[in-house]
């Protein structure tokens, strides 16, 4: 057991999998010699050699396409898209190819690919280093979508993703790479080393895909969140005195509907929190499912606390980011009636 930041935990997951399975390799822009702009692949080229961890051309389409070809061969490529905001040139290969190859070949060809990509705001990255495009992937049949919120989960989920035989889009909440974030940007950041979730086994272990975690137990209202927003939601619960049960979804597709339903049936109220713009964000699907499954238990409308329906504006970082004040407002509203 070691204490790891989320970056170190992710690096460790790659390290473990490169060591265990020679069909695993990893590449991406600046991911080779340099070890990635966020250092997640740091040291791996040195340890495993340049054919197992290498730099790619600046071509998200080419990265995804060659990964699909490698998957068809039988490898398990793990590719890094430098920022989720830059995944769109690779979108066609993800949506039309990786997601559909198993189906259209009746299982003969598969795409056991993991696409790692840092996402989300809170780092003054402006509109092209802050996006949360998860719902553009949850709509695509054939893809799994995973988002960790702690170092422990990050490693265990990434190993699961790599071992999974289906394509997994693995969003890394870059704001909490080095420590959790309550959303209070004016307060000093606590490093992961101060938290139990940073106790990470050095070897192989998995956190299963498709299973949510209860990040905070509570009885008043259920909060559905993932990534950075799990921490913001927990802070909001503490600060507001509203006894919220915060569910960390961890996997968006396939979704752990049972855990969600059990909680909402208990609390009768539900607030969904995400950074992505509201309209057609993943919160929409969650709201639709919760009302479908828990209609007769609901005592108030399901609330959504989200990013606005604008691009992510550089100077307005903290006006855009759905911080604790907005989450608390959402909780209060859910408790009102």
């Amino acid at each position: 057991m070691a204490t790891m930041t989320m970056i170190q935990a992710l690096n460790s997951a790659l390290d473990v999998m490169l060591a265990r399975d020679e069909n695993v390799l990893t590449f991406g822009e600046d991911a080779g010699y340099f070890g990635g702009v966020f250092r997640v692949t740091d040291g791996l080229q040195k340890k495993y050699g340049p054919t197992r961890c290498f730099d790619s051309p600046i071509s998200e389409g080419g990265i995804m396409a060659t990964a699909v070809g490698m998957g068809a061969y039988g490898l398990r490529p793990v590719v890094e898209i430098q920022f989720a905001d830059y995944i769109y040139p690779g979108y066609d290969q993800i949506v039309s190819e990786a997601a559909k190859i198993r189906y259209r070949s009746a299982g003969e060809f598969t795409a056991p690919i993991t696409v790692r990509t840092p996402y989300g705001g809170g780092i003054f990255g402006g509109q092209t280093h802050s996006q949360s495009p998860e719902s553009l992937f949850t709509h695509i049949a054939g893809l799994k979508t995973v988002i960790p919120s702690t170092p422990y989960d990050a490693k265990g989920l990434l190993i699961s993703a790599i071992e999974d035989d289906d394509p997994v889009i693995f969003f890394e909440p870059k704001r909490i790479y080095n420590g959790p974030f309550s959303g209070h940007h004016d307060q000093p950041v606590q490093p992961w080393s101060k938290f139990a979730e940073a106790d990470v086994p050095e070897g192989h272990y998995t956190v299963p895909l498709g299973k949510a975690a209860i990040a905070r137990e509570g009885n008043d209202v259920t909060v559905l969140a993932y990534g950075t927003m799990v921490h913001v939601s927990k802070a909001a619960a503490e600060e507001s005195g509203i006894d919220a049960e915060v569910i960390d979804l961890r996997t968006l597709v396939p979704l752990d509907i049972e855990t969600i339903v059990a909680s909402v049936e208990k609390t009768g109220r539900c607030v969904i929190v995400h950074e992505a713009p509201r309209t057609s964000g993943f919160g929409a699907e969650l709201a639709a499912l919760v009302q479908e499954h828990c209609f007769f238990h609901l005592e108030a409308p399901i609330g959504r606390v989200t990013g606005w329906d604008t691009p992510y504006p550089h100077a307005f970082e903290w006006h855009y980011f759905p911080g604790p004040a907005r989450v608390i407002e959402g909780l209060r509203k859910a408790m009102e009636r």
Partner: protein, 416 residues
Amino acid sequence: MSSPELKKNRPSLSLRIPQPKSRPGDTPDFSNLIIPDAGAAPRPDIAAHPREMMNLAWSLIRVLDSKGRAVGPWDPRLNPETLRRALNHMLLVRAFDDRMYRAQRQGKTSFYMKCTGEEAIAVAQAYALDRNDMCFPSYRQQGLLIARGYPLVDMMNQIYSNAQDPVKGRQLPIMYSTKEYGFFSISGNLGTQFPQAVGWAMASAYKGDDRIAAGWIGDGTTAEGDFHYACNFASVYRAPVILNVVNNQWAISSFQGIAGGEESTFAARGIGYGLPSLRVDGNDFLAVYAATAWAAERARANLGATLIELYSYRAEGHSTSDDPARYRPADEPRCWPLGDPIERMKQHLMALGEWDEARHEAAQKEAVEQVRAANAEATANGTLGEGKIPSVKTMFEDVYKDVPWHLRRQRQQMGV
């Protein structure tokens, strides 16, 4: 305002929209086509530097001359037995196309696409590749499957989306997939297979395997980003792959000038990536074979990828949904100066004294008969037209390796 001044009084600009030489009602015009003599193109060593062989991108590798003789350094010197087998395969492809086209017209399926006039390409390339090399085809390389001996009835089962369809009714007709025959699942999304071929080849090289990959793309589709990704990644990682551009002059209703084919050749696109780039008479079986074999040797020798433009002509409609007489002269196919690949192979074998009209007729009949028999078997398995399709339950399978809860529920909702 500072230094950079206004420079006035220029002629006004105008937008150029490329136009083909002839349209319906016009006389087909191929007078501007420069067709180098057979045997004229030099054959470089596979280890030569790509820049030294650059002219091949604007030339045309041809082996069969106008009398059907094989000439020049690219003559692959195949034995008559192989040539005859190859001719039979081309005849089989054509017979298959004809039968399936009619099946669509009869309402037995929704769609079909022929490769008429392009049979030499896929068949010769199948011959030049190893049986275990991996193909990433577009939808016009049915010849690969036929030359590799994939059962015709399986092709038809796919086309009919019937209970024996290897891909369980999930794909449009002709979107074959067979790992066993080294044929990657065809995509309806144009071009995506081209860089995938490169990825597969990179994987093969990564594993120290000895199999290479080949990808095919149409002239029109070279405009997609995927073409660029393929060339670039193949060049950077020196992937053991053959990148084939099938220039059949047309992309549905758009002539190749709309893809940039008038400004240079498609082969020349490879030069900027440092790839050896060959332009080949695609209706000349021997030339296609020889160029492909050369590129394959190069790939196997860890020298990397080759771009090959196969210069040909789409002799029929784009698909069963298309009527080419609406956008090109109806007799243009007949005027295509590079002829018909089957006729040229026949002429060659006859020039060698290894074939005659009677044998040709018999071979044609035999091909038709093979196809007929396969079709009888396939239609007995059902056709989409009759509504005989795979079990509906299978519709929810293979989206993921295991069926997740939400798809299980949807399947229940369907009552299957």
